[in-house]
């Protein structure tokens, strides 16, 4: 089946595909549509996704066209409007909250919706609330009779949950919790939708009952009147001011001054406070991590990686239209994608986006398997799930951020224009490095759990090779060989870091000080472990594509590239214990450069396969038809700076220029 005809936003020139783009698609080495189906998890999903996209894109309320020209206030207002409009449509068409349709609508709208935290609140309620609490609050939420947010981070405290200062003190006389922010640094800071929208917040606070501190628990706190939306007594809240992106979200602050809430508002699936103030624990202390893990896994697949995918599409498409200099004196100027240096910038990013897609899918399977067990109060998988999702979240967000920024810069000056779409992608993906757990803190649990050897670290005990057996560059194109190389280096670094810690301890260092003094090497080990997991996951996923040899071959090159690019970036780790020789690193380098050349002809097909619509990319550089320059010129002319007057001329420039005029 051919992919559907695409029309780029109805502009006059878009009926014709740019000849430089057309030539790229003339002889694809695989069926792009079938790869799209694989990425979607089946042809029926692709069809459903496109159906949802056509609903969204045909509705003018959802247009993203003016996004780049709007102020923070306008973006917020549009975000709220779109959110409600989407829910009206969902009701009409019968899309349920957790349906694929909703997920696809989110993708088509690039998440540009207010009230995103409403959903996080619901997820937290479902993982931390009792059955009665879910029955009470979930319908209120679903019908938007309340608007809820999730308030964890404080002005002075972030990732480290135990450090949060907000208090919830139980008063047995009235059977209420007294919610209080004792200091300035205890002010809740950053939660989305808190600044202007939310009526309720799920507040994480230190529980104090019967005089004892019981650690972090979650409380539903009403903050704004359901009548007139004014702040309730004792509540101070507002917007935290301009940020790099997320302008459609009113990230907010919240101070609570002895605000009283009923006892029933503490979420009590894992812990309860009885009317007399007795505290009962029903789960491990780790159970509160569950909601973070839930959020993290969906972030990887639905939020973070698609941003890198889009950045790759824009940069690679632009690179076949942009021509610069000559490869031979007699030729016309060459497409910049034909330059080895440009391929070296972009193809590793493309390979990374594919690697994360396949790794993310398998992570989700593992997650679903563990999640139901945890809900049944079986916590045995939680440590591994927590460690794995943290480590991979750190890696994915770091790589996607660097990758998207590389794509932006690979577009030269035009990548700096918001009309390219790339600045927004970059400033959005970079937020993922610090939200839901700062990355350095995230990567570390990855290494702490390795003492217990769950499934993902079983390779630690597998027999290891002391030296890489490769003899020619071509040997490095075997997944088994490079997967073992990554396993080797991860094992060595993990052993090294354990050894360092031991040495410190034996020389009399205090346990915690010793840990702090070895965190850099632990981090290095955790990163190698995550890279290994990703290489392995990607390679295994490709083995299942035997029935699609052409696609398998194209993806195999990306998998090879991903693995080898990683080896070259950290060659020292592979050389240091002699696992790779200098000559072998040269082989890796030459295999890598050859791969760039081979991937070149598939580059456009590989980006087309992600199947993002032009509306969703919202990029003058990255449209399917390749009419880059016409679109950039046309869009720029619509900028308010051109359609509205220039008061600065009247006020300041004119007086300056006057004196010259008199001399003319």
């Amino acid at each position: 089946m051919d992919s559907p005809a695409r029309v780029s936003m109805g502009d006059a020139w878009s009926w014709q595909v740019h000849p430089d783009m057309e030539s790229e698609r003339r002889q694809p080495s695989f069926d792009v549509e079938r790869l799209t189906n694989i990425l979607d998890g089946g042809a029926e999903n692709t069809a459903l996704r496109r159906k949802v996209e056509s609903v969204i894109h045909s509705d003018p309320v959802f247009s993203l066209k003016d996004n780049y020209f709007m102020s923070q206030n306008e973006r917020y207002e549009a975000g709220v409007k779109k959110k409600f409009h989407l829910h009206m449509i969902a009701q009409r068409l019968g899309w349920s909250e957790h349906s694929r349709e909703f997920r696809y609508a989110f993708r088509a709208l690039t998440g540009d919706l207010a009230l995103g935290l409403h959903h996080i609140f619901l997820k937290s309620l479902q993982s931390l609330g009792s059955e009665e609490q879910i029955a009470k609050w979930a319908p209120l939420c679903n019908e938007f009779r309340i608007i809820a947010t999730y308030a964890q981070t404080e002005l002075g405290h972030g990732t480290y949950l135990q450090g949060l200062e907000t208090e919830a003190t139980y008063d047995a006389d009235t059977q209420e919790f007294v919610m209080h922010s004792p200091t300035l640094t205890a002010t809740k800071w950053w939660p989305g939708d808190l600044g202007r929208s939310a009526t309720h917040a799920l507040v994480l606070a230190q529980l104090i009952c019967s005089g004892a501190r019981q650690g972090m628990h979650a409380f539903i706190v009403p903050i704004r009147s359901l009548q007139d939306h004014t702040l309730l007594p004792g509540v101070t809240a507002g917007d935290i001011g301009p940020k790099m992106d997320f302008e459609y979200t009113d990230n907010g602050f919240l101070q609570l001054d002895h605000v009283r809430i009923p006892r029933e508002n503490m979420l009590s699936r894992f812990a309860q406070v009885l009317p007399d103030g007795t505290y009962i624990k029903l789960g491990t202390a780790q159970s509160n991590y569950l909601s973070m893990v839930v959020v993290r896994v969906s972030l990887l697949l639905d939020e973070i990686n698609p941003l890198l995918e889009k950045a790759c599409i824009i940069a690679i498409r632009y690179s076949v239209i942009r021509r610069q200099s000559r490869l031979r004196p007699s030729d016309p100027e060459a497409k910049v994608l034909d330059y080895q240096t440009q391929q070296h910038k972009l193809f590793p990013q493309l390979a990374t986006a594919y690697a994360f897609h396949f790794m993310g899918t398998s992570l989700q399977e593992f997650f679903e398997e563990s999640y139901s067990a945890i809900l049944d109060r079986d916590f045995s998988l939680l440590p591994e799930l927590h460690a794995l999702s943290s480590g991979l979240k750190a890696m994915v967000s770091e790589f996607c951020t660097q990758g998207a920024e590389l794509c932006r810069r690979a577009c030269g000056g035009h990548g700096y224009s918001k009309l390219s779409g790339l600045p927004s992608l970059v400033s959005r993906v970079t937020a993922s490095c610090t939200y839901e757990g700062e990355n350095t803190a995230q990567a570390s649990p990855g290494s702490t759990s390795k003492t217990s050897l769950p499934q993902s670290v079983a390779y630690l005990t597998a027999p290891d090779l002391a030296k890489c057996p490769a003899r020619r560059a071509a040997d490095f194109l075997h997944p088994e060989l490079y997967t073992r190389a990554w396993a080797h280096v991860a094992v060595r670094l993990i052993k090294d870091s354990a050894h360092h810690l031991q040495t410190r301890l034996q020389s009399g260092a205090d346990e915690h000080e010793a840990w702090n003094q070895t965190t850099v090497i632990h981090l290095q080990a955790a990163k190698a472990h995550c890279y290994y997991i990703t290489v392995k996951g990607f390679a295994e996923a490709l083995q299942k594509l035997d029935h699609e040899p052409a696609i398998q071959q194209a993806l195999q090159r990306l998998c090879d590239l991903f693995a080898l690019h990683g080896i070259l970036s950290t060659a020292g780790d592979f050389l240091q214990d002699g696992f790779l020789s200098g000559a072998q690193v040269d082989m890796v380098r030459s295999a890598y450069l050859d791969l760039l050349f081979l991937i070149r002809k598939d580059a456009i097909s590989l980006t087309d396969a992600f199947d993002f619509t032009d509306q969703c990319l919202n990029s003058a550089l990255g449209c399917y038809d390749g009419n880059v320059y016409e679109r950039l010129f046309y869009w720029a002319q619509k900028s308010p700076t051109n359609t509205q007057g220039n008061p600065a001329y009247q006020k300041y420039l004119r007086p300056l220029l006057q004196s010259w005029r008199s001399k003319l």
Binding site: K81, G163, F253, T341, D510, A571
Partner: protein, 665 residues
């Protein structure tokens, strides 16, 4: 107003091992420079005409308006204060604009300097004074929608018409529209336009023309001119980067800048004497950009390190109060190598400026011999420092956690203002390849038996002519990882080897294929790597040589540690190269990793004082997190309250969208 200093910062400053004032003098070049810089800064800080409003809360057009107002004030003040030295004007502007850019900036940096370099005496007489007094506002239009760094690809034409003695300027295609020039969109009424010159039916390549674009008096675009703003960008909100399309637009013959090349009234073309002369301007701008890299990174480090001393998080030992995050090894490992880099780049920038001035005197005496190497070196160093700084500012921002993402930190602005440096004035990869071309030429020269001089003289020592290159064991590779000098040697060896590898791979490709250009392309990843290694060596070398010039012992000691950290960190990041070329052994690499961690601990007590020595005023940092007094949280809260979204307690969208739709659902 008396402000109490944050207790953590007070303690940090009390424990410093050196006097930051002495280090500030070194950074400024002399105590006298420091004094004068502060004097000028105070002029601005105490002048009521410069209101320092927070641009973060303004829309783009408001920001543009503020910037234009400031520029107008600036012209008056510079004259009033009698400031004429270019460095002093730069200090003045830097503080005045506070990390932001000005729409008339190109009038000074490009329009006027191009006039000076390429205009005849008569042309300067006519245009210079009005431009200096902002009576006309000029910009410099080179880049086109479809063409950038590759100048020969520009499409705009200027065709001479001898009948009327005019040039006809034309933008023949969409891709030929001038795109990006600062100040072009709304502000300027003149532009120096680069166009392909055609006369007597022949194309003579790129030349510069003064083109009036807006009518004096009304500021409306002149007939035949289409001009406007290119729309919103990542940063540079205040700047009206513009587009310009010319439709057979006529200008007098005298508007071509004719100091070097000329078109006679009858259309005869007279060639310039040397094309190397234009190198001078490029070298100057690139050396300025290296200085900018150092300054931007120094600001980012100041913010991140001060904030890390104020922020407390987690625990190192259970039961103890939350430690300063600067006490975590991972935080030190993130920030201290960047701090060392900021110092390293500062010395590179100072060296480049000095060399530029020295060589400029030579050029004045007609000696152009050093220009090619300087041109090649500045290209690579501009790319090397801007790439590193780009990533480093981001790393500083992320080291501030979530608050780094808020504009209150000042870091997003520093980043988006700096990052275009990677693409403008020559795209970085192209710059690296320019350096590589010079390195390959030097390598060939050594290969054919001639010695080379300057920074590339290490190529003279390459043993490749006499011995098999694999037998590098014969090289003097006893590296002492505690000696800056010895580490410079290690970087020198690495550069030499990577240049040689690139040269050999290039030869192999040439022998396999017909075209030299194709071979060059297929070696370009190696070539960029060689250039980077060369620039890294130059940076380490300049840093370690700087140490010898410092008299004060405590200052020298602290800079020596930074120099070691910079060098060793680079080795740990590129360990593969040093191992593969047998410059360092496996166990030395282990020692390098170990030594880096020791240095982090050694530098820790001086970290805050080391950023204090950069001597940035709070107003020029533009950051709540990086305040000198460390009172971060109180001011963060105050700052947020000014957000436009907080204007009314109940936002209008509640009545418009939330309330009506809530009832429908």
């Amino acid at each position: 107003m008396a402000v109490t200093m944050n207790e953590d910062l007070r303690r940090e400053r009390a424990s410093a091992s050196f006097n930051p004032e002495l280090l500030t003098h070194i950074l400024d070049g002399s105590p006298e420079n420091t004094r004068r810089r502060r004097e000028i800064e105070n002029l601005i800080l105490n002048d009521p005409d410069f209101k320092h409003e927070d641009l973060n809360f303004l829309t783009r057009s408001q920001r543009y308006e503020v910037a234009v107002r400031k520029s107008a004030t600036l012209v008056k003040k510079i004259r009033e204060f009698g400031i004429s030295d270019p460095d002093e004007i730069m200090w003045f502007k830097k503080l005045h604009m506070i990390n932001f850019v000005e729409p008339v900036g190109l009038n000074f940096s490009m329009f006027i300097s191009t006039l000076l370099n390429q205009g005849t005496t008569a042309q300067n007489e006519k245009w210079l004074l009005p431009a200096q007094g902002l009576q006309i506002i000029g910009t410099y239009a080179q880049t086109e929608l479809g063409h950038g760094t590759h100048l020969r690809g520009l499409e705009t034409t200027a065709t001479y018409d001898p009948e009327t003695q005019e040039f006809v300027l034309n933008s023949p295609t969409v891709t030929s529209i001038k795109w990006w020039p600062g100040g072009l969109g709304k502000t300027s009424n003149h532009a120096i336009v680069l166009a392909q010159l055609y006369t007597q039916g022949k194309c003579y390549g790129l030349h510069a023309f003064i083109v009036p674009i807006r009518e004096i008096g009304t500021h409306k675009p002149l007939p035949g001119i289409t001009v406007g703003d290119i729309g919103p960008k990542f940063g540079y909100d205040e700047m009206d980067n513009g587009y310009l399309k010319m439709d057979h637009y006529r200008i007098p013959r005298e508007n071509m800048l004719m100091k070097h090349a000329q078109v006679k009234p009858d259309g005869t073309y007279v060639k310039p004497v040397s094309n190397k002369l234009t190198y001078g301007t490029m070298v100057f701008i690139r050396s300025f950009l290296v200085g900018e890299a150092a300054r931007s990174l120094a600001k980012a480090c100041t913010i991140a390190i001060r904030y890390s001393a104020v922020r407390h998080q987690s625990e190192i030992k259970p039961g103890e109060p939350e430690p300063q995050i600067l006490d975590f090894q991972t935080q030190q490992y993130k920030l201290f190598p960047l701090l060392a880099t900021a110092y390293a780049f500062h010395f590179v920038g100072a060296y480049m400026k000095e060399t530029y001035h020295r060589i400029n005197e030579d050029i004045g005496q007609g000696d152009l011999s050093e220009l090619p190497e300087l041109h090649a070196l500045t290209a690579g160093l501009k790319a090397f420092t801007s790439w590193t700084t780009n990533a480093a500012i981001e790393a500083c921002r992320m080291a501030c956690g979530g608050h780094g993402y808020s504009h209150c930190s000042g870091l997003p602005n520093i980043y988006v203002t700096f990052t275009p440096t990677c693409t403008f004035e020559g795209e970085n990869t192209v710059m690296m390849l320019q350096t590589a071309r010079f390195l390959m030429k030097s390598y060939d020269q050594v290969h054919s038996g001639k010695l080379v001089c300057g920074m590339v003289s290490y190529l003279n020592d390459l043993p490749s002519q006499r011995i098999q290159p694999q037998q590098v064991a014969v090289w003097p590779t006893v590296v002492d990882i505690n000696s800056p000098h010895s580490l410079t040697e290690a970087y020198r060896l690495r550069a030499a080897r990577l240049v040689e590898i690139a040269a050999k791979n290039l030869q192999t490709e040439v022998s396999h294929r017909k075209s030299k250009e194709v071979a060059w392309n297929l070696t370009s990843v190696d070539l960029v790597r060689a250039s980077e290694a060369h620039c890294h060596y130059v940076t380490v070398k300049l840093f370690s040589e700087q140490l010898l010039k410092i008299q004060d012992k405590p200052t020298q000691a602290v800079l020596r540690n930074l120099c070691l950290l910079y060098s060793l960190y680079g080795i740990s990041q590129k360990a593969g190269d040093f191992l593969q070329e047998n410059i360092l052994t496996d166990s030395q690499i282990t020692q390098v990793h170990q030594r880096i961690k020791e240095l982090l601990t050694v530098i820790r007590p001086d970290a805050v004082t080391l950023v204090d020595a950069f001597d940035f005023q709070d107003v020029s940092l533009g950051s709540v997190l990086g305040r000198y007094d460390g009172n971060v949280y109180e001011n963060l809260f105050e700052w947020a309250k000014n957000s436009p979204l907080n204007k009314d307690e109940v936002h209008e969208s509640f009545y418009k969208h939330l309330k009506p739709l809530q009832s429908k659902l």
